[in-house]
Each structure stands twice: as structure tokens, then as C-alpha cells.
Symmetry: D2
């Protein structure tokens, strides 16, 4: 079949990476880019002199495209994606899919009615290291999952129209949902507003999953060290995913605490600890964004539901909304409805 | 003056380190050790063949000692320390000082009445790296303190009669109180019982201090990596104390976010980030326990209140009690009375 | 003035990076790419659909270019660069400039006669971290330079037509020459042929500079760890440049050994050691290759000698030749003629 | 049988560690310590108040000891060990066994004649991590050994009566001999005298073993970073021993370059690289010095030749002598006679 004609709306921080990948995919043609800023249009021109460049994204709706990528600031995700779907275009929208669950539900409904592909840019669902972790969980190599601890820390980037939750926690929550593949029962969160009175720049989340699985997330715009780490503690083994190193991102620890078979009535039992080998598997790394873009094209062509479909985007939004309610109400315990 | 005659009660995990230090201090004489276990008595004999070794700690009360060190399991801290004080002995008791604040108050009252020194083994109050951090805070080099994040993680050691809070958080709380030198307003905590149904092996604490200073503690008996880290984020600079490395324990980051002088009505402001140098000061390291033991002797001789006196021990206990209440009641917000 | 028209010859491992940079430089136009392989031509087409793509590099000589970049395998550097100069094109040739000094001298002579710019791709001369090291040396902040130790280790990539010396040591030697800015007196080298009987895959070099400055280089195609490190030990301070980390590439150690003022006749002196702070300066990083390409354009426009001119390329070649002689003759001491 | 009576001669830098271990070994009794310095005698008294302490080591020869440990400065190793043997005492002497091979041969001869145990303190022969490496070599898990690279770097400690070769390389050479278990064919070395005109403070050694196995050693008293690393590159796997970390000292890399089965006449072959997993085995760590002291006692009791017997000490000395000759003669190639 022919290659798909793709346009990119929003050429700011992330848009250039999406444009580059679609330009390089054999099964796609990058034919147009829209951005409000003259500077960004110029940046795009130096990379893609031959394609359509416009400041009005509406131009992309009348030129026979198959799909558009929405990489605008979050506030514009909903209206732009909506228009694109109404113009019968398949849509890949950056995370978070929208700013609230109602908007997300509308987009899902619209894409279902029109039989269009709606996909969210949850990059980690296409990350080889995350795939490896999921494999260790599903193969039961880790045993039962005790808890997951996730940290995403750095200095900045502050955004006016968002907070650290919607900027960073969105990644960790999408990883959690992808790994555990079930809906959490409840969430509570604690937020701090350090630099600005009205912007959360640090947050701690507790997410409770079925089967007594707990997850704790720490996200911060105000940490001296760049940290992107997920630790999964199982009853048999433990895994750490360190995403700031270029190599050796995954470590499997054959460590644990074994309960004694028998403990007498006087609580006088002994633990046995396992201190086994540490393994650093050679995970072959392919640029996750490349995988993601290819997956978008394949989902359209094969009419299959993408791994990070609109409903996945909605699941993340519902958890972010609950966490924000909890932060605003003094760390209340928010039960999730599914 | 003469050297002080010191006895050590409890020669298990930590006792040998205390015994060694008092044996080596010129201003002290280690003259007796008591432990219930024959094995430990034998271990003690191989190191100190010449001193009194007994299985009954009461023997230490009739031999003209000046002071005793209580390094028993936590459950015995209170009764043993109480007897020692009643026998007019100065007491250095390991952390946590007791298992509840009422017991701690009794010991404080008793030591006050008798004019005896009561000191708790909050080792970090005698740690050069912690001193350095306190200096950076007091000199205002860090600016206003935004928040403190502390993590103390490892695999084990599980204890039957304690939980991770009383085993590990006791360190972080004593560090926090020492650094900020004020009483927290409230605490909330989230605990997990992974390996045993009735023992908390992981806990996350939020401690709120005056002036909007927040502290978050993560303690775990169930982590694959050994972590002992305190991060202090100030408005001017940030400090990280990494206690698992042998050198370069302290790093000062000249990093931060500067608010714009002026922000127009449309929230259309720009941040400026400072990415300055990182400095690793050459902190001269002296064994903290050695400093602590010397400080105990000096406090007795000079009749001065030790840095980690009984009241400091009580402050820590009150926070641990509140945190435990919060964990048991589903992470409630516990206001602290002082 | 107009932008310069640039063509790239050789689109294999490194060519694409050069092409990308010249395509993005405002002061240059990438107008043509030549490569022998259909695959590479296709790869180039996906990135630069609009430019001339040819399998015969001679095509680039008849299309009014200002300059060409020679990124072919080393064996072709000399003939291709020679033809380009004969066609009055300015030339940026990848390192090593040629396979022997005679060829390099010819290219230099030719470019001088024709008043053309001849520049070698010694990327490190355009690396901010290397600039920082040079600054510390020139400002005498390090004191007198005692020695420099450099290591460039990795697994592969083996090449049929080269050895580890010409592949890796070329980098370290160009760094050394740039930092010390003087010609070495002599060189000796020890090589190993581990995987193939006729290819050196590991080499150790000793390079002696005036003023008793010694440099030791370790290059290997056969090491499990990726290492790219330069250590400069001065009488006052020491610097380490670690090029495999993304941040904190440079560390300055205020450490050293101070000689005693007076030492009596019995050699009974005491040393004093300085263990001062470690500083990690915030070196602002700009892609070195981008700087290099801009410098090439500027040198042509301003008719100035590039920092890494042909003569610099020749200096490196002469040291590589001497080192190879030494390796082949059992680690002989090779004096260098300048 | 009874425990052995042991005396320690020399209570400076290393002596206290030896004394402590023998004091704690059930099969030995520490009964006397000799040192020339009053300070050291006092230090010893605070640890061992009950034993004989003397400034004249001859006192130890008349008190019915079974063995002595010689931990004096290197210059005194030979005369003191000789006297001890002449007094029919078993001897454990610190490394290097003597200052030249002739002295070492004399001690060996003397101990043989008298049927006494003569052992050298090559601690690494008793190090669990080194044992693990030897196991990987002997099990052929690494394949054929291509080369070994060893580095031992630090700031100081300078010694008046020695140079970096006799202070640090002695460790690496004993490790090499222990691992490869054969005599090297030749050695060449390059030394630098940075701080003092007459003291080598940096040295690079090349040691050639049979079967084309090469070893390169880098020792330095003048490096900003503390490095103690041994890398073994085999045809199948590679191992790195990092001795400055507290845990994860050994890493096994399943990496390598595989030669093509068939290479046509035109040298047009392809390599295949193996990038497999990295394994960090859980090596159970027991204090090497404890193992060493126990081994000394066992060798005496069982009348067996110790792993690090006098002849091992002599082998190391001969290589050090040859390396020093090479350094003094401008890095000559010194063939070793065995």
C-alpha cells in the first residue's frame, strides 16, 4: 500500500522529534508542519525545506492527510485533536491526552464513531527496558509484586500552565498501568509549592492496586540530581530501571527475604536472606519514539487498537485528577471509580 | 582527674563498637561488659580478656562504675536505663531511647532529679558530614529551605520486636531535628507490610515544619540497593549527603530557579535557572561513634547537657509515635503537641 | 555574503553527522552527497530528499561547490582530498588526515599554493570540556604539569584497513597537542594483537614532551567498559575529563603533595598533602561537531588558518608513524624530528 | 593441640591489623608486640593492656614464642626475619619480603634448613574476589586470556626509603602471579619522578607471560582518584575487579569479538560482536587478612607450604628488580631468568 501522509501540529519542544521520526519512517510521509511561532517555522524549514509549513494548523485539514500528530501545549490537545478527528484524520496526541477526563472521553467517543485511530504518546509503552520489566513480572520471575517505587526528579522545566503532576507523574503512571495492567483502587498525594505560591513543583503519590500492590511516586522539578528510576520489589527478585544512564539501564537482583516455613508460637522465628547475583541483561535498545511512531502507522494500516489508545490516556487522566484532588484537600484518600 | 569507669550492657550488634571506643578513649576505662548470651560473652572475652564479663547486668551496679552504656534490644532500654539511673550511674542509651514517650519522660525526670547525665546514641549528631550540612543551613548559604528528602533503604535486617519506623526512621528524624532545630507541626505516614502480615517493612513519612518546610522520609527493609541519602533543597543552593560512599559524601549544587522580578497580569513570565558549579567539600571525617563516646564522657565531667540528651530522644519518640498512629489509621494527618 | 555551497563525500559512519550539521548551519548550504553504496544513498535521500545524491564523487567537482567534506574511509582521504583541492575546493577531511606524513605534506603544499582552506576533523579541538582544561593549564591554576594520562577503551569497532592506533590514539594525540601546544620529543609504544594475528587491537603509548612532561595513552578495541578519560596531574591541582558521562564531564581536584621547604641531609623530611575541595564546573556544552563545522565555514570566509589545519593533522600523523615504528620494533624509543 | 604463641614486630601502619587478627584467632595467642616508638607502644597498650610490650624486638626471641610477624619498614624485613628464623621461630613477613632477591633467597634457604614456615603477606592471595577471578580463568569460562590490565592509583603515601614500584606494584604482581600461575618471560617499565628528583612516584609496567599473555600495570602515588582495578580480557568473557567499592567488586562481561569462520583472500571478512549480559556474582567477603593469618597458623600446624611462601615472595622481588632496572635504563626490555 502507499505510505501514509502525516502532518505535525506544534513544533516546539517535542514536535521536532516526532517530525524527524515520521520523516524517516519508510511507511510514512511527513508532508506538513504547523506552528504559531515564526522562529519554529524557520527551524522546521532548515530541516524540512521541501514540505508545507504553516502558522495556521487548519491548513492541514484540507490537504488530504491521513493523520496528524498533536504536539501542542497540553491546553490545545483537546480542541486540536477534536477538530482533526472531525476532519476524519487519525490522531496521535502527546501526553497528557487532555486536561480532564471529560475531554478525553469525548475524543474517544468521536474516534470510535468515526472508526479513527486515537493514540496517546505514552512513550514508555514503547521502551525496550520497560518491556523487559513487564516480561520479568509476567514470567513470575520476580514472584509476587510487593511494591513499586518510582522517582522522576530534575531541575525544571517549570511550566506556567501545568504543574509537576501533569508534567512528570504522567510518565510514571503510564508505566505503572502498563506494567501491572490493572486499575488502581485509590490514590493519595502530597504536594509542595516551593518556588511559586500557586504551582506544585514537588509531589509524592501513593497508588494502591489490587492484590495489596502499592506504588509510590516521587516527582520533582526542584532536585539537584537528574533521577529517572523505577524499582520493582518482588517476593523472589527485585528490578531497578535507571533511565538516566546510557547503558546498563536494567538490573535484576536475586535478593529477598524468605519467611521461615515454621514459626513457633513465641514469634521466635529466623529469617533467611538471599543475597544472590545481580544481572544486567543486554537489552537491545531501539529509540522508543521510533517504535511509537511505527506503531501508530501500523495501527492505522491494520485497523488495530494501539497499545496506548485513547482509553489508556483516559486511565492516566483519571488518576492524575484524583491525585490533584488529594493534594488540594490535604492528602485525602481518593477512591477511583472505573 | 581520673578516667571514668564505664560498663557496657548488651554486646550484640552495636555493643562491640561502643565497647571498642570506650576501651580506646584515654578519658575512659572499659571495666565490664554484660550480655545474656554465652556466645557474645566469648566474643567479648577474645577482645577484652582482662575485664569483668557477666551474664547478669545487675553485677555492673555494685562495682563502682561511673557510667553504663545500654546497648540492649530496644525493649530493654527503659528498664535497664531506669535501674542504672536508680543506681546513680550516668547513662548512654542506644536509639530509640525507649519504646514510648511516657517511658522516655520517666527517664528524663529520674536523671534530672539525680543530676545524672542521660544521653541517647543519636550518632548522626556527631557526624562531620551532618555538621557540614547544618553549617550550610545556618550560614544561609542554601537560602531558605524549601524541602528535605531523606531515604534509608536496604535489604533487612528484619527484627521481630520492631518495625522499619523504629529501626531506620529514628536516624532520619534525629538528623532532621538536628538540622532544622525546631519542632515539626504535624506528620503523616504510609506503611506497607510486605513480608509479614504484622510488621511494617516499608514506610513513607511526611513531616511538616514551621516556615513551610516539608520533609519526606522513605525507609525500607526491602530494597535491592543500599541507600542512605539526605537531599536539602534551598532557594539558593542544594545539598546532597550520600552516606554509602566512603568519600565525597557531601555535594553542594549551585543550582536553582530564580523567580522573575516582574510578572505581568497574564502570567506570562519567564523563569531563569541557575546551573552553577558543583562543589564537593573536603569534610575531614572522624568516626562519629568515637565523637559520640567522647561527648558522653565530656558531658559527665563538665556537667553539661549532651547534644543528644534525653529530651532529644523524647522528641524523636513523639514523632515516631505520631507516624505510627498515622500508618495504623490509614495515613491520617497527626498534629504534634509540644 | 552568500552562504557557502558544501558537498559531503562519504556517507558512512560519520558522514551523516557532518551532513546534518552543514544542512543546519545558516551560513552553509548542503547541496550534494556522494557515496559508493546504494544503501547509504537511500539513507541520505530519506533525510535530504531535495539535494544531489550521487555514487560518483567526481560529480561534486563540476557543480560550483565552495567546499567539500571528505568522510570516506581513511585510505581514500588523500586521493579524494587531493582531487578536491585540484578542483579549487576548500577541504575539511576527517581524521587521520592521511595514512602517512608524505601524503599530508602534499595536501598542505597544494592547499597553500592554491590559497585554499585545508582543515582536519580533530573534533576535540572544538570541545568545550577540552577548552576548559586548556584554560586551567594556561591560567597556571594546575601549576606545573607533571603528567597526563589518557585512556580510550571500548569493545570494537574493528576495522580491516586500520589498527587501534590510527582509529583511537589519533583523538588522544590531537588532544595532547592542543592542550600542551608543543611538539613531543619522543614516543615509544607497546602493542598487542589479540583477536587477529596482524591487527593491533590494544596499544600503550608513552609520549615525552619538553619540560619533563610525560603523557601515557591507553587505547583498546577490546575492553568491557567504555572509557574516555584524560587525567592531568599538575603540581597545584589535578583535572579529570570523563567524556562518557552526559554531565559533570570535568572535575578539578585541589589535591597535591607539597615538598617540604627544608630537608636535612638525612632525607628525614615530611610531606604535606593537600586534600582540598573537588569542583565540578558547569561547562556549557555545545555540540563540538557543530562548532567544528562553523569554524570551517568561518575560516574560509575570513581567510584565517583553522585551529585544526593541515599542519596539525600532519603533527598527529608523525607521532602515529613513530608510535607504529616503535610497536613494530619491540617498543623502541623513537625520537621525533620537527 | 594448644594455640600458637605469636609476637608482632613493628606496630606502625599495618602491624595493628595483624595484631588484632592474631588476637582474635582462636588458634593463636598474641603474647607480645615490639616497636621502636613510644607512641606506638602506647597505642598497643590501649588495645592489648595485658600482653608484653617492648621497644627491643630481641626480647621476643627469648620468651618461647612459636612465630613472629615482621611488620617493620621494608628495610628491616631481612635482618629481623633472619634473626627470627635463627631463633627457630616461624615467620610471617610483610610484603615485599626483602629489598632484593639475594636476601630473599637467604631467608628461604634458612627456613628450609630449619624446617620453619616462611610466609609473605601477599594479602590478595587470600582475597575472595581474587579467588573468584582465578576460578573464572581455570574453569576456562573466560576462554584464552588475551591480556590483563591493572591500575593502583592514589594520592600518596610517599615513602622516603621506597618508590611506587616497591610500594604498590608489589600487590599487582603478586595478583598476576597468583592468577596466571606461571613465570613471566620479560618485563619493561617506564617511570616518572614528578614530586622528587630521586623518587619514582608513577610507573607503567609491561609484563610478558607465556602463551602471548600480556599484562600492563599502572601504579601511581599522584592521582586524584583512588583506583584499584584489575581487568582480565579473555577470548570468551571479560572480568573487572574493582577493589575500591564495598560491594559489587567483581563484574563478568559476556562480551567479545568472534572471528569469522572463513575469511576470503581479500581480507573481506566480517566480525561478530557479542554483547551479552553482565553478571555481578555475590562473592561472600571474609576479611582477607583474617584468612591470611589463619592460613599462616594452619601452615605451621599442618607443616604445609603456605600459598604465599618465601619462594612466591622471591618471584615478586625478581620482577620488581627487573622493572626497576628497566626504568633506570630508559625502559629497556628485561628478560627474566628463573
Amino acid at each position: 500500500m502507499d505510505t501514509l501522509k502525516v502532518g505535525v501540529i506544534g513544533y516546539g519542544y517535542w514536535g521536532p522529534n516526532l517530525a524527524r521520526n515520521f520523516a524517516e519512517l519508510p511507511s510514512a510521509d511527513l508532508v506538513a508542519i504547523a506552528d504559531l511561532s515564526d522562529n519554529q517555522i524557520e527551524r522546521a524549514r532548515s530541516k524540512f525545506p521541501e514540505i508545507v509549513l504553516t502558522k495556521d494548523y487548519h491548513d492541514l485539514f484540507g490537504m488530504g492527510l491521513d493523520a496528524v500528530v498533536v504536539a501542542t501545549p497540553p491546553a490545545a490537545h483537546y480542541p486540536v485533536a477534536k477538530e482533526a478527528l472531525e476532519n476524519n484524520l487519525h490522531v496521535l496526541v502527546e501526553k497528557p491526552i487532555t486536561r480532564n477526563s471529560q475531554e478525553a472521553e469525548e475524543l474517544i467517543k468521536l474516534s470510535d464513531e468515526r472508526g479513527l485511530t486515537l493514540m496517546v504518546g505514552h512513550t514508555f509503552a514503547y521502551n525496550s527496558a520497560v518491556h523487559a520489566m513487564k516480561k520479568f513480572i509476567e514470567s513470575k520471575e520476580l514472584g509476587d509484586i510487593h511494591y513499586i517505587d518510582s522517582a522522576r526528579l530534575n531541575l525544571g522545566l517549570f511550566q506556567k500552565s501545568a504543574n509537576v503532576l501533569w508534567d512528570l507523574a504522567v510518565h510514571d503512571i503510564s508505566i505503572l498501568l502498563y506494567l501491572l495492567d490493572q486499575n488502581p483502587i485509590s490514590v493519595s498525594a502530597q504536594g509542595m509549592k516551593c518556588v511559586f505560591k500557586d504551582i506544585y513543583d514537588i509531589a509524592y503519590l501513593n497508588v494502591v492496586f489490587p492484590n495489596n500492590i502499592m506504588a509510590h511516586l516521587h516527582v520533582s522539578w526542584l532536585d539537584p540530581c537528574k533521577v529517572r528510576r523505577v524499582t520493582i520489589v518482588g517476593s523472589k527478585k527485585m528490578v531497578v530501571f535507571n533511565d538516566v544512564v546510557n547503558e546498563e539501564k536494567i538490573r535484576i537482583y536475586d535478593k529477598g527475604v524468605d519467611k521461615p516455613e515454621y514459626t513457633n508460637g513465641f514469634g521466635d522465628f529466623q529469617f533467611s536472606y538471599r543475597y544472590g547475583d545481580i544481572t544486567i541483561p543486554n537489552v537491545r535498545y531501539i529509540e522508543p519514539l521510533r517504535q511509537e511512531c511505527q506503531h501508530f502507522i501500523d495501527s492505522i494500516v491494520n485497523k488495530t487498537r494501539p497499545k496506548s489508545c485513547g482509553r489508556e490516556g483516559l486511565r492516566v487522566i483519571k488518576i492524575l485528577e484524583a491525585a490533584e484532588r488529594s493534594m488540594n484537600n490535604g492528602s485525602t484518600h481518593e477512591v477511583l471509580e472505573w
